[in-house]
Amino acid sequence: MIGIPEIFFYIFCALIFGSSLLVVFSYNLLRSAFALFFVLFGIAGFYVLLGGDFLAVIQIMVYAGGINILLIFGTMMTGSISQPETSNPSFQGILTLIGGGGLLLILLIILNHTTWPSQSLIDHGPTTKQIGQLLLRNYILPFEVISFLLVAAMVGAIVLINKGERS
């Protein structure tokens, strides 16, 4: 018996799989960056199916809406953007192949040897309130440390850009 969540699971699977193939095999770096949007969007769909509504919206807002824009901007600043047809060579040498293959192997071994806590999907309802309560009561210090982390990232970016402009 296939319910509606299962149908959506397979739709998102196809979306993620198809667009990640595009990310990897497209010779145009800009197209790869755009295709990554659909991968991140599909992952947001998975979060919805797993009951993480807040996480899903954050995934779309921060990753699909923010980080992906940053990546697209980043590709426009690379030197090879003037040849868009060949800016993203799919095969990048033997060492990369070994590294990627090794990572795949490690992930497969972990997948096989871990007993995942599997339980049927419980409807938790909206989770934003619980997250807010946890942030303000149990995890105050991490919450404030996040802002320091963000400031450190921002200052680092400014220092690097100013240094790059001077040279």
Binding site: D53, M77, S82, P126, G132, L135, I146, V151, A153, V155
Partner: protein, 136 residues
């Protein structure tokens, strides 16, 4: 909860369908006789100069980066705003306010630093080049 996301899905389908339908209908009824001049890149009526695929200024990256930083800040502030009323009613309002104020002030320091370093000024390099030519 999945039922709530049915609304989101409906919006998504209607949004994509609206664009697709409009493009399809307009492709049916519009005249199609392109010529060389029509196919040039429209650049505010000016003739385009040079290739379109050029390396962009690093300054764009900083603005995009500051956007992502504040995007993440909003993401963390949103759950706090949802429970703020409950916190006020249960007597924890001041604590919640101080926490979120501290969070914003720390990020504001970073923003002021970006501003003071001229990270948000567009014409900075052009201005310094202009001053250089004035000196010589």
């Amino acid at each position: 909860m999945l039922e709530n996301f049915a609304y989101v899905f409906t919006f998504l389908i209607v949004g994509i369908g609206f664009v697709a339908l409009n493009l399809f209908v307009s492709s049916l009824i519009r005249p199609n006789n392109p010529n060389e001049q029509k196919e040039t890149v429209y650049d505010c009526g000016e003739l385009p100069v040079g290739p379109g695929f050029t390396q962009f200024n690093m300054r764009f990256y900083l603005v995009a980066f500051v956007f992502v930083i504040f995007d993440v800040e909003i993401a963390f502030m949103y759950p706090v705003t949802v429970i703020f009323k409950d916190m006020v009613n249960s007597g924890w309002g001041i604590l919640a306010f101080v926490e979120i104020a501290l969070f914003i002030i720390i990020l504001l320091v970073g923003f002021i630093y970006a501003w003071s370093q001229g990270g948000l000024e567009w014409a900075k390099s052009i201005k310094s080049q202009f001053e250089k030519t004035q000196d010589t």
